[in-house]
Symmetry: C2
Subunit: 450 residues, 2 copies
């Protein structure tokens, strides 16, 4: 009987491992032991230089220079985007990426493309429009800069989960098909669920609140669906939500403190573990040591007075106003983030807790990052009677909310939470100009593929 | 200007913190310093004992005994499922959970339920049918045993991510709305996407394969939608998929080794960090040190011969056969897991790599855990020509797959991967009898709420 024991006989070396091998050799100084390595990768570029061929491999942790004799068996079939396994001597080479190269003694071609790439993926900046890059996303992501965006995105999601785990949050998975949307409005995708009308979740709002009554602190990373018809640079119709909800808050500043803690943790994690990607993208991460807090009305006034802009929509912030508020706090406090608090009740959902000091406002906030909203959060109503009153006042029926309401009828702790758009936050951290660049396979009004 | 600095002025203590405080005090032996603590929780039970009231609080990390004088202000309004903040002296008390209790000097009632719970949530085993517990899930999850299942589930997902991260996998988020299902067949949920026909993802298959061409090793944890009409104890119509895909495999045993490594890591993590939940659920985790591997045909024959069962469906395993195979390997090898390999090509999707030694079979496998399939995986076709031929042979059109096929036309590494059903694995690890018990808010043919 054959058994699996969980150890792979992996022979191919990653770049990080090769760097370690070379460092080890350097430590042996004069003995100059020879290091033979095997590694795999996609052929990123081929350059002929006199008698030699430089084959640059693209590996998951970077690019690697290999030097081949064109007379080696297999070399004739080599093309860009072929996948190969090479064996050879690993040597220090200052001029090559990561200060090393492999002098190849054996090449095995693992696969050969049928067709050349439609645009120069191996170039630092591909000569292709965003439209083309998105249409041919499965190829454009092979570009080092394009793919680095999604390593950073992974880092943000890891930071969110790891930080909240340390703070006692439990990760949940709530259903994405349901009988009713949590956020109301018309922007719901509808489907037939075994002949019953159903919708795709606009947010995990109801479920994370319910679960705050079970685990006190919960988080979820999952898809969120919004059938918004507008096609802007900052909206997607499907995006990844980073959500948390926490019970026993003293007031809603606990939520902002928790988010600030996460952002500080994220900046640290990215700096420490994603330095190569930050370098590739030439990015300076925002400062999150301290984040100013300003009331909605005050922020609106500051933007209007400082930049001479008339207030048109009194109950919400227009994108341009967010930009101006961002500019103001950058200029006056050198702040990349700003919490805008006490949004008008009119523009907040029914579950938002009104400010007892003035019911026109809510105990809620948005977080702006470099002038763009990346988070909406706030304290929620936790008393059944108050919740029902607010629903009645807004003409919201109970249908499809029986389970949610039952949780409140049987007792819920004071709680609040927030939702962050992962792509939006990635875009703002990296200074991208279109949220589609921060989404692997974006979905918008016109884009359902690839 | 007010600033958030990422530090919460959190005063309420968790149980783990209180245990530490008491241990610290014990270390001071005779000095007997008094420890005053504040903490929050939901009132799990109230028991009157003579002059005193024992108020058992339910907190996120367990239950906590508090002792109150009924004359204390606020005590009159106390009910089960009220949420409270209490302050008092923390004392060692052998007979109480975690060996401690709080002698309360101050009670603040944070919220009061309108209604009593419909079934005894505070009891060890609630006296309610699965149907009732699922219908009133928002309440039944407050039961200590019910909620412990989802802490374990969190642990499994953490193990998957953490282990694969250490192995160089990048986490991705692929779209759940698309123009075409990856797995084919009729079990797709359909919706209208801005007047275009669309479907919900049956799996992240195409996307994770494409991304194996970008990051070599990728993983995703996300919802998966299957419009299967059968209502069984082991199927859900929406479940959480743990998916990975890895490039440059030498053969498909690399995939099984990786999964074995994950399972070993998961057992270790659960044992170390979720001991309390395992104790609550009285669970013995399966052994994953080594996992036997058996070919599909051999497994089928073993089940038939050993247990006298006739083979009816030659190309697939029926649930009863999986059970018998599980029983056989438990009996003969004391194995809780078994890899069944080389499934017939007929029953595997078009992207599965046929076995070059015999094209009736594929280089694929299922993993059974205690007699139930929890994983399907295998090597994929990575050559464009072979992929197209297989599609043509099966009458599969290219529509909606242009991006996927383009990735292969421009070169893909040899690769393979697998998908694990998180709820199914949770069910099998914990010995539950219905997969709905391992899903927070299950979706089945009849259940779209809560």
């Amino acid at each position: 009987m054959e058994f699996m024991k969980g150890t792979t006989g992996k022979e191919g070396k990653e770049i990080a491992e090769m760097i370690q091998l070379l460092d080890g050799k350097a430590a042996e100084t004069e003995r100059c032991k020879e290091i033979t390595v095997t590694t795999e990768g996609a052929v990123h570029r081929i350059r002929k230089m006199g008698e030699l061929v430089f084959v640059i491999l693209r590996k998951r942790d970077g690019i690697l220079q290999t030097v081949c004799d064109p007379a080696l068996p297999g070399m004739a079939g080599l093309k860009e985007e072929a996948c190969v396994r090479v064996t050879g001597k690993l040597l220090a080479e200052e001029r090559a990426p990561h200060g090393m190269e492999i002098r190849v003694t054996e090449v095995t071609i693992l696969s050969v493309p049928e067709e050349a790439l439609p645009f120069p993926v191996a170039r630092w900046k591909m000569n292709a429009s965003l439209e083309t890059r998105l249409n041919r996303r499965t190829l454009s992501l092979r570009n080092l800069r394009e793919r680095a965006v999604f390593r950073i995105q992974e880092g943000i999601a890891r930071a969110f989960r790891d930080y909240l785990h340390l703070q006692g949050f439990t990760e949940i998975h709530s259903p994405k098909i349901g009988s009713r949307g949590a956020e109301g409005g018309a922007n719901m995708f509808r489907l037939s669920y075994f002949h019953r009308p159903a919708v795709l979740a606009q947010s995990p709002q109801f479920y994370k609140q319910i679960m705050a009554g079970v685990f006190e602190r919960v988080m979820e990373i999952g898809p969120v669906f919004r059938a918004e018809k507008h096609n802007t640079k900052r909206h997607l119709n499907e995006y990844t939500g980073l959500d948390f909800e926490m019970a026993y808050i003293r007031d809603f500043s606990d939520l902002m403190q928790m988010e600030t803690g996460f952002l500080q943790y994220a900046v640290k994690l990215l700096t420490e573990e994603y330095a190569e990607e930050l370098r590739i993208l030439e990015v300076t991460l925002p400062k999150a040591e301290e984040i100013p807090v300003v009331r909605f009305e005050e922020a609106k006034k500051l933007a209007a007075e400082t930049y001479g802009r008339q207030i048109r929509a009194p109950y919400d912030l227009e994108p341009e106003e967010e930009q101006l508020i961002g500019a103001y706090f950058k200029e006056h406090y050198n702040a990349d983030f700003v919490f805008v608090t006490h949004y008008p009740a009119k523009k907040r959902p029914f579950y938002a807790m009104d400010d007892p000091a003035d019911e026109k406002y809510t105990l809620s906030f948005d977080l702006l990052c470099r002038g763009v909203e990346v988070t909406t959060g706030g304290q929620r109503i936790h008393e059944y009677t108050m919740l029902r009153e607010k629903m009645v006042k807004r003409g919201i029926g109970e249908e499809g909310m029986e389970g949610y309401l039952e949780a409140f009828r049987c007792g819920m702790p004071p709680h609040g939470g927030l939702g962050i758009g992962l792509e939006r936050l990635t875009m703002q951290l990296l200074g991208l100009t279109n949220v589609r660049e921060a989404c692997l396979f974006p979905r918008d009004v016109k884009r359902l593929e690839p």
